[in-house]
C-alpha cells in the first residue's frame, strides 16, 4: 500500500531492480518468469492485481516479440508509464547481456575439442530438442483444432522444410488468417440463419463451402 505513494524515481528504480533480479535468476525466460513476477508485483508490492497480471500474460503472448521483454514492457508501462516501460526493459536486458557477453568473449567460437565438453554440449542439445518438442506439442494442442487447421500447419511446415523463408511464411500467414476468420464468421452466420429458419440441421448447408481449402485461402 505504502508503495503507491512512492516517488516516480523510486518506482522506476524498483522496476529496474525487479526485472534485473528476474532475468538474472530465472533460467528459461518467458513463462518461467511468471511466478516470480507475481510474487514481486502482486504479493509483495501490490502494484498489480492478480487479474491485471492474468490480462497481461494473455497480452504478452499475443503481441509479437519475446515474451520476457513483452512482460517487462507491459508491466513497466502499467506501473510507471513510458519511463517505467523503459526502466523495466533496461533492467530485463542488463543481466543476460552482461553474462552472455562475458561467455562470448571467453569462447568466441563455440567449437569445443575436448571430448567431455563435447558430450556436455551434445547432452544439452538433446535436452533442448525435447523441450522444444514439448513446447511445440502444447502449442499445437492449444491452437490447432479443426482438420483444416491441421492441413494448414502441415503446409506451412513442408514449405519451411523446402527452405521458404520463415519470415515470408509468417507474413503470408496474416492475410491467410484474415480470410480464414472472415470465412469462419460467414459460415457461422449462415449456420445460424439456417437454424433460425427451422428445418434442416446446419451441417448440410455448410458442406459445400467446407470443401476446397481455397475458400479459406486467398481466393477472396
Amino acid at each position: 500500500m505504502e508503495i503507491q505513494t512512492l516517488s516516480k524515481a523510486r518506482r522506476l528504480l524498483l522496476l529496474y531492480c525487479s526485472f534485473f533480479r528476474i532475468t538474472a535468476l530465472v533460467v528459461g525466460g518467458g513463462l518461467a518468469m511468471l511466478p516470480v513476477i507475481e510474487e514481486i508485483f502482486v504479493v509483495k508490492y501490490k502494484l498489480l492485481t492478480r487479474e491485471e497480471l492474468l490480462d497481461m500474460t494473455a497480452l504478452t503472448q499475443t503481441v509479437p516479440g519475446i515474451i520476457a521483454i513483452n512482460s517487462a514492457v507491459y508491466i513497466g508501462m502499467k506501473i510507471g508509464g513510458v519511463p517505467g516501460a523503459l526502466a523495466a526493459a533496461a533492467g530485463a536486458v542488463t543481466p543476460p547481456f552482461t553474462v552472455i557477453l562475458i561467455i562470448a568473449s571467453l569462447f568466441p567460437r563455440l567449437d569445443p575439442k575436448n571430448r567431455y565438453l563435447l558430450g556436455v554440449f551434445a547432452g544439452i542439445r538433446a535436452a533442448v530438442t525435447g523441450m522444444i518438442l514439448v513446447t511445440g506439442c502444447r502449442m499445437f494442442r492449444r491452437t490447432v483444432k479443426t482438420p483444416l487447421e491441421i492441413a494448414v500447419v502441415l503446409i506451412f511446415f513442408v514449405l519451411a522444410i523446402m527452405k521458404v523463408s520463415p519470415a515470408l511464411l509468417i507474413l503470408a500467414a496474416v492475410p491467410f488468417g484474415w480470410c480464414y476468420v472472415w470465412w469462419q464468421t460467414r459460415r457461422l452466420a449462415r449456420a445460424e440463419q439456417q437454424a433460425a429458419d427451422g428445418g434442416k440441421p446446419a451441417e448440410k448447408a455448410v458442406e459445400p463451402a467446407a470443401g476446397p481449402r481455397e475458400n479459406g485461402g486467398d481466393a477472396k
Binding site: 543476460p96 562470448a104 558430450g119 547432452g123 500447419v153 519451411a160
Partner: protein
Amino acid sequence: MNHCLVLFFQFCKFSVLCFGGGYMLIPLLTAEFVDREQVLTMSEFGNLLSVAQVTPGPVGLNTATYVGYVNEGFFGSLAASLGLIAPTILIGCSAAAGINRWKETFLVKGMLKGTRLAAVALIMFAVTIFLGLSVFRTAIPWESLGALFRFERPVLPEGFSVSPAGILICGVTVVLMLKTKLPTTALLLGAAAAGALLSAWF
C-alpha cells in the same frame, strides 16, 4: 558500424515476426545467419542456443547477444539486443492499452489466428532442426526422404547416423517434462552430466 545498423534492423525484424515465444527465433535465425549469410555453422548455432538455454535470462535475448557478438563483437551484441527490444517497446508504449480492446476486431483476430498457425508449424520445423543436431548426427536429409515418394531407394548422406545418447537424453527429458514438475535448470544440468558420462561410453 554500418554492419551494426544492419544487425539492429535484422533483429527488429525478428522481434516483429516473433509470435509465440523465444523458440520462434530458431527458424528465423538459422535462415538468416546459417543458410543465407553463413556466419555460423549449424552445429555452432546448436551450441550457441545450448549456452543461451543454460544461462539465466530469456533464451531470445541470450541468443541475440551471442549472435551479435559472433558477428560484430561488443557493438554487435548491443545492436542485436536493442534491435530485439526496440519494436516491443514501441508497440508496448503505443498500443498496450488498446490491444485488449481491439482483440475482438476482425483484423487483429485474423492476424493472431494466421500467425499462430504459422508459429506452430515453425516450431515443429525448429524441432526438426534440433533433431539434426542431437538425435541424428547430421541434418535430417529431406532430399533423401523425397526419393521415397518417387519409389526410389533413398540415398543417405555421408555420416548420417543415429546417436543413441541423443535419443536417450531427448526421450528422458520429454518424459520428465510431462510427468514431473522439475525445473528447467535441473533438466539441463542432468542432461549435461548425462551427456558427459555417455560420451565416455559411445
